[in-house]
Structure formats: structure tokens, C-alpha cells
């Protein structure tokens, strides 16, 4: 493989100008019991540059980053900082050396406010204890930099997932580190926030900060990267400078094949209206007078796939949660196959074939104390219960079918949820809901954190379901995903539908519809 050679021949520059290697992993390996997450990886981080790490789910990206930031220790190999071998005994130790990390899974304390989260563990001392005023000022400055109007005293649990991600970013920025590792920082952000983040990254670069960036949004990552590294199955398979790479290069090295996200399934006749929203409003939890979803009407037919595109805070999550029964509508009604379901519980809606794949897998999707298999079968217990008892054999069949169908990379159904990579955890949440054999499936950002292979797989599953009469609504903040299997693309903005397109729409039209109305 020519890419292997390019790894060997890579130039090693020195001197303290931009591009000098500041931190590197040498022959780093890591195993968790019998799982070899990393096999002798070499990885360099260069001063003032962005190094992007690509790889499919479970390739070992997060593991490598955790090793570089002192969260875990390597089983073998060493870390070299400024030419000196070092060992980080903890994240605090790594932070002292100027390295900080934004974790893939958010690590905020939901019961505390934004200010206290940002300064957690590094509280600014003042004459009379903690200097809260200074902390609040600094928080406000960071939020202004990130262009996100979140007050320093807002509780983190009141924030949307994307906003939490921004707080997480702000916390990493507040440390003023020289090496900043970002493990899928944008998975819950939409285009405009990503743009702001990229401006911040450019600014950091010009100040000599080195950045490692991980994302499954390949095109987006390509716009800021200076170098790309591809990991596959725990080994580095390719390395190249920005000028040498394009999307096709990444995909080829990541998964070996080119994937496209499919096209709307055709050839089947669409059925009756399966799910319809009629003038539905949902009140804001914090400000009940305000509606996050504002008299919205939308219908999806059996066999149809509808994509909802919108910026963060457009009300997509609330709309879907309302349909699933998590929040109740303040106005209007929701009809499932011609029947008003407003008074049904979540369980009853699932029984009637309406399921939701939630956005935040840690909070709403997974039971962390249960094994992979138990998580997968949780929503379809009825399918393997006879009388009072559950049947082990039938449950095992359900679990194995799910693992196969959504391609979960796991040690088996008995493995703990925490041993799965982020993307594979997401697949567990999707697999769990699809195992209930739904008639209408709502997916809130289903591709969050999954690699393009898996993304294509999920969309293929949806398309296949649709041709068998499944009604699908999925939300996304990546335009590319609108233009895949959806028959219809609905753009939401401020709780309303601002535009509706057929499958032949262009990216620009979609972006314009969401952006324009966000301004006006």
C-alpha cells in the first residue's frame, strides 16, 4: 500500500516554526482485555496546525486521544512531548503540560450552571473565596467568542444538546492550552455553529495552538484540516497533507469502498397518511408563553421518508419528542393512522408502532448499567414474553438479529455498553427501536457519531423499511443527509416549517431556506 509508505517517508521538520511536531505517539498500543483497540500507532501533532483523524466506528480514534490526554495509559509505546518522552498520569497532569480535550461523550455536570462547569476544578481564587464575578465575565467572553448567547448562570440540564456541546468547547478553550483535542465536537451542532467553531479554530491556529480534530462529517472536517490521518481497526492506514487529499481519498482509506447515502426508494406505492401533526404547538419548558413548536402541520404517509432540516433550536427535537409522548402538545393534535394519540403513554405509542430514536444517547438512549443485549431488547420485551415469562432463547434471537442488522461492533450481547465506541452505542439505540418492528419511526439526528459506512447502512435500512410500508421522519443538521433517501425535505425554523422541497432540491436551496428565516 502506497499510503503505508507515505507514513514512513513523512518529513520530520524541526525548529520552532509552524509545523514542528509538538506531541507524538510512538508505537502506542492499547488493549482492553481481549480487544486490541490500538495496535502500534504512530501519530504526530504539529504546532499551529489542524490534524484530522478519520476512521470508522470503533477504529480507535477516541482511545488514541484519551491516551494523548492522560485519560488512560497505553499498554505499550510512548508519548513524546517536545522531543522528550513523557507519561501523563491523569488529565490534570496532561493539562499542566498544555493538553486539553473535548470528549466525544459530554462530561458536564447537569445540575450545575454553565460558569461552574467551565471552571470546575480550576476555580479562580479571590480574596473572599471563589471569584464568581471574574468567572462569570470570562464565561461571557467565551460565549461571545463562540457566538452563543448562553448566560453564565444557566443550568446545564436546561440546555439543548448542541448548547451543551458549546459549553464543553468553551471549557476546553478557557484552559488556554497549546494542544487542543476535539473528539467529535460538532456532532450536535448545525452548520452556523460549526462555522463559528471553525473561525475559533483558525484563530487558535494563528496563535500557535495545535489541534486534533475528529469528525464523521468528512466534508466539514476537510475544510479546516492541514493533515489527515486515517485509522482502521486500531492501525494507521494512511497519512497525507491537505493538498493531497479529497473526500474520495478518505473514504477509500477508511472503509475501502465508496459509499453514497442512497437515494429515495421508489417502485412502491405510498399508503395512507401514517402520522400527522395538526396545528401542533409545544411550549418552551423555561418560558411557557413561548412556543418552541408553533402551530405546525405535517403529515407522513406509509412508505414515505421525510427529512426535517433545521438549525439548532429550530424545534425539531421538541416536535419529535411530542410525537413520541415525552412532552405534551400545548395545542393541536397528533394523529397516528387516523386516531388521535395525544392521550396515549409512550409505551402505548410504541405498542402501536410509533417509536423515537432520541438525540442524546447517553441521557435518553442507553441504560448504562445494562449489557449491550439487554439494551437492544429493552423496547421489545413483549416480543419474547409468553404469559408472564421472558424466553432467553427468543431474546437472544432478537439481540443477534439487531447486532447483525445495524452492524454493531461488539464482543457479543453480554458486553457492557461502556465498552462500545461512541458510534456503536448510537447503533444500539437505533437497533433497539427498530427491533420493535415499528410502523412509524422518528429519528432525531440518527447519524450523530456514526461513520459513513454505518450511516449508509442506517439509511439503507430506512429505505428498505419504507419500501415495506414504514413511515420515516428523521431530523438532521447536515445538508448532505437531506439529499439521501428522503422523498421530501422539510426545513424548520423557529418552530415552523419555513420551506418544503422534493428530493430534487439542491443544497443551496435548503441552506437558504433555513438561514434566511433564521435571520428574519
Amino acid at each position: 500500500m502506497s499510503s503505508e509508505e507515505s507514513v514512513m517517508e513523512r518529513p520530520t521538520r524541526s525548529g520552532s516554526e509552524t509545523g514542528e511536531v509538538v506531541l507524538s505517539a510512538r508505537n502506542v498500543a492499547k488493549s482492553f482485555g481481549s480487544v486490541h483497540a490500538l495496535k502500534s500507532v504512530n501519530f504526530d501533532i504539529r504546532r499551529g496546525q489542524v490534524t484530522t483523524l478519520f476512521g470508522e466506528n470503533g477504529a480507535g480514534k477516541s482511545t488514541l486521544m484519551k491516551i494523548l490526554s492522560g485519560v488512560i495509559q497505553p499498554s505499550a509505546g510512548e508519548i513524546v512531548l517536545d522531543g522528550e518522552p513523557v507519561r501523563f498520569s491523569s488529565t490534570v497532569d496532561a493539562q499542566r503540560h498544555g493538553i486539553s480535550i473535548i470528549h466525544q461523550e459530554l462530561s458536564l455536570a447537569p445540575n450545575m450552571n454553565v460558569r461552574d462547569n467551565i471552571f470546575m476544578g480550576r476555580e479562580l481564587g479571590g480574596p473572599g473565596g471563589v471569584d464568581y464575578a471574574e468567572e462569570a465575565r470570562e464565561t461571557e467572553r467565551l460565549m461571545a467568542e463562540l457566538d452563543e448567547p448562553i448566560g453564565p448562570l444557566t443550568l446545564v440540564e436546561d440546555l439543548r444538546l448542541g448548547q451543551q456541546q458549546i459549553v464543553e468547547i468553551a471549557r476546553a478553550l478557557s484552559v488556554n492550552s497549546r494542544i487542543l483535542i476535539m473528539d467529535e465536537p460538532t456532532s450536535a451542532l448545525s452548520a452556523s455553529e460549526v462555522e463559528v467553531l471553525f473561525r475559533v479554530i483558525e484563530d487558535l491556529k494563528s496563535r500557535g495552538v495545535s489541534i486534533v480534530y475528529i469528525s464523521h462529517h468528512l466534508e466539514e472536517a476537510l475544510t479546516i484540516t492541514d493533515h489527515a490521518v486515517v485509522l482502521r481497526d486500531g492501525a494507521m492506514t494512511a497519512w497525507a497533507e491537505r493538498s493531497e487529499i479529497d473526500l474520495e481519498w478518505i473514504v477509500r482509506h477508511m472503509v475501502g469502498d465508496n459509499f453514497d447515502l442512497g437515494s429515495p426508494p421508489t417502485g412502491h406505492t405510498m399508503g395512507e397518511v401514517a402520522l400527522s401533526f395538526e396545528n401542533v404547538s409545544v411550549a418552551d419548558v423555561a418560558v411557557p408563553e413561548r412556543s418552541v413548536v408553533d402551530r405546525l402541520s405535517l403529515a407522513v404517509r406509509a412508505g414515505e421518508i421525510v427529512c426535517i432540516y433545521g438549525l439548532m433550536g429550530a424545534g425539531r427535537t421538541e416536535l419529535l419528542e411530542c410525537a413520541a409522548g415525552r412532552v405534551s402538545a400545548s395545542e393541536g393534535r397528533i394523529m397516528l393512522e387516523g386516531e388521535d394519540i395525544s392521550s396515549l403513554s409512550i409505551a402505548e405509542r410504541i405498542e402501536r408502532g410509533l417509536v423515537l430514536v432520541p438525540e442524546d444517547r447517553q441521557r435518553d438512549g442507553l441504560v448504562q448499567t445494562m449489557a449491550v443485549g439487554e439494551n437492544l431488547s429493552l423496547a421489545s420485551i413483549g416480543a419474547f414474553t409468553r404469559g408472564l415469562l421472558t424466553s432467553r432463547g427468543r431474546e437472544q434471537a432478537v439481540i443477534e438479529a439487531s447486532i447483525r442488522n445495524v452492524h454493531i461492533k461488539t464482543d457479543g450481547g453480554a458486553a457492557g455498553i461502556g465498552s462500545l465506541s461512541g458510534g456503536n452505542q448510537q447503533k444500539v439505540v437505533i437497533g433497539k427501536m427498530l427491533a420493535t418492528h415499528p410502523r412509524v419511526v422518528l429519528l432525531d439526528e440518527p447519524s450523530r457519531g456514526i461513520d459513513i459506512g454505518a450511516k449508509a447502512e442506517v439509511f439503507r435500512l430506512l429505505a428498505e423499511g419504507a419500501s415495506n410500508g414504514l413511515a420515516v421522519i428523521y431530523s438532521t443538521s447536515e445538508v448532505g443527509e437531506c439529499l439521501s433517501v428522503a422523498h421530501r425535505i422539510v426545513v424548520m425554523s423557529r418552530g415552523r416549517i419555513s420551506a418544503e422541497f422534493g428530493a430534487d432540491v439542491t443544497r443551496e436551496e435548503i441552506m437558504a431556506a433555513s438561514g434566511e428565516s433564521a435571520e428574519g
Binding site: 482492553f32 481497526d233 461488539t410 457492557g416
Partner: protein, 371 residues
Amino acid sequence: MSDVQQGASSANASSPRSASGRSGGFDLGRILLEGRAFFALIAIIIIFSILSPVYFSTNNFLTMSSHVAIFGLLSIGMLLVILTGGIDLSVGSTMGLCGVMAGFLMQGVSVDAFGVTLYPPVWAVVVLTCVLGAFVGMINGVLVSIFRVPAFVATLGTLYVARGAALLMTDGLTYNNLGGNPEFGNTGFDWLGFNRLFGVPVGVLIFAAVAIACMFALNRTPFGRWVYATGGNARAAELSGVPVKRVQVWVYVLSGVCAAIAGLVLSSQLTSAGPTAGTTYELTAIAGVVIGGAALTGGRGNVRGTLLGAFVIGFLSDGLVIIGVSSYWQTVFMGAVIVLAVLLNSIQYKPRKKRAASTEHQKASPSSGTA
């Protein structure tokens, strides 16, 4: 993609080992840690058998088991509650209240309007007492699940109310005559705990039956799965169609019923029912659950562990009594055992990666420290 997928699936096929089998050369430590309650029990039996000649005998084991049965029953109800992430501080009082209720019913209920006294048969006493236990549990459950009162506070309140009710019912006195009268057809209370069946105290048999039923419910019914899911992550469970609120009410109801059964067994064993019976038993019950490896944060634990925990406590405290250790020292020992158990729990539930990392880092890099 294909080779990667194959790699994953062959890993599946070749290692169907469960979570416990993954730590390679570190197994002995893990076995000791996971089976700690069991080994503790063995150690307790060996030590006391050496220290006292009367300890190791069938009869003594049966006697000790009938003591274990009382708070063991409470522990099993408590386990259900703790698995959902709650706690039930009211079980000791509920047990006392139910015992008194049973005693009261055994004395006959005089219905003033007709000028007669009704003597309910023992089965009716059992049913009514269990209904009372369930009622107290339901109050707890409704407070916790629907009114969102923190479990600690809600059940602390019921603890006081139930105890007060028991004292009010009896004016602080004890019912001593529970034998019933053949004329009234209400004999047989002895069969709830005092008597022996095939040489085994009935109380122990009841305890075993409840334990098996609970084990079955947790492992083989949807309800059991719901209990674990609710305790692990209630939000996710709810979105997966688990009736979280109903599950919460039910575990408190079952805990109340277990307390009622324990109250019946205890009054039968003692042949008397006093309003202060079961004081501080809620703490013993919690200790049993915790020693058995359950996590107070919910979602982890099982009946087997809880049984072992209950036996560890019972056999230890009875052993201390038998070898004549002063009751002050007994208290100190109990406390130490509980803390030790929780200490081991936190080692066991530490995120796997951290433990794996620290052992590996000792193995892999004994030198190379240049920070």
C-alpha cells in the same frame, strides 16, 4: 469494509465470554471480589466454628436462619426498591405496624353496631396484614413517582407515621396472646414462623419462597427487566416504553408486602406483637442489600447477593452473641463490615477502563518516568 466487518464478527464468534471473563490474568482477584459476600460467609462460619463448639450444628444454623429470615425478607423488598434507584426507610416501621395489626385482628374485632366480635381466621389475618403493608408501600410509591418527593424523605416520613400509628393502636402495649381460640376457628398463627415443617422453621421456608419468587421476577419477567432499566436510566427506560412510574409504585408496594410478611413471621416467632418491633431494621435491611453487592445508585444487584448479604449479617451477629462478645463490640463489628462491603462495591463498579488501565500500566511501564 468487508474485512473489518469480518474481524468484528469473528471476534463475536470466538469470544462469547461474558463481561466477567475478559480480564485475562487478573481472574483470581476478580473472583474474590465478585464472590466476596460468599467468601465472607464461609470465613464467618469457619472462624466461629473454631471459636465456639456449639456454632457448627444444624440446629444452630436453623435458629440463626430464622433470625436471618426476618430482615432477609425486608432486604429482598429493599433490593427491589434500591434497584430502581430509590430507598425505603419505612420497612422497619411498616413491619412493626403490620405485626401489631395482626395481633389486633387475632384479638377479635368487635363490631359495635351488631354487638358482636368477629374473629377472622388466620388466612384472613395474613391477607389483611399484607394489604396494610401494600397500602403503606403504595403511599411511598405514589409520593416518590407521582409527586416526585425524594425517596429518602418520603419514606422517612412514612417511617415516623407508621411507627406512630402502631403505638397509637396499642397505646404502647404489646399483644401477647396470638394463639387464637379453637372455638373461634382462628388458631394456626404459630404456622407463620414459630412452628417447623420437616424440621425447618416455617419462617425460613417463607423467606426462601419469597426469595425464589423475587429471583424469578427479576430474571425472567418483563417486570424484572423494567426494574433494572428504571434504576439504570429512567429517562431512557421511559422512552423505550418502560412504564417507569408504575414500576416505581410497584416496587414500594412489594417492599411493603415483604415488610408485612416479615412482621407476621416475627410476631409468630415471638408469639407476641409489639409496636416497637423492627426499630432500625430498615438499616439492617439496607446493609444486607449493600453487602450483597447492589449499588445504591440503582440498576445493579441481585437476589443471590442480597441473600448472602443477609446471611453474612445474621451469622456474624449471632456468632458474636454466641462467643459472648459484648453488645457494644457487636455494634462496632457490624459497622466495620458494612463499610468494608461498600468499599469493595466502589472498587467493583469503578469504570472498567480505569481499572484496566491502572493494572496494565503497572505491568507495561514500570520504568520510563520522565515528566
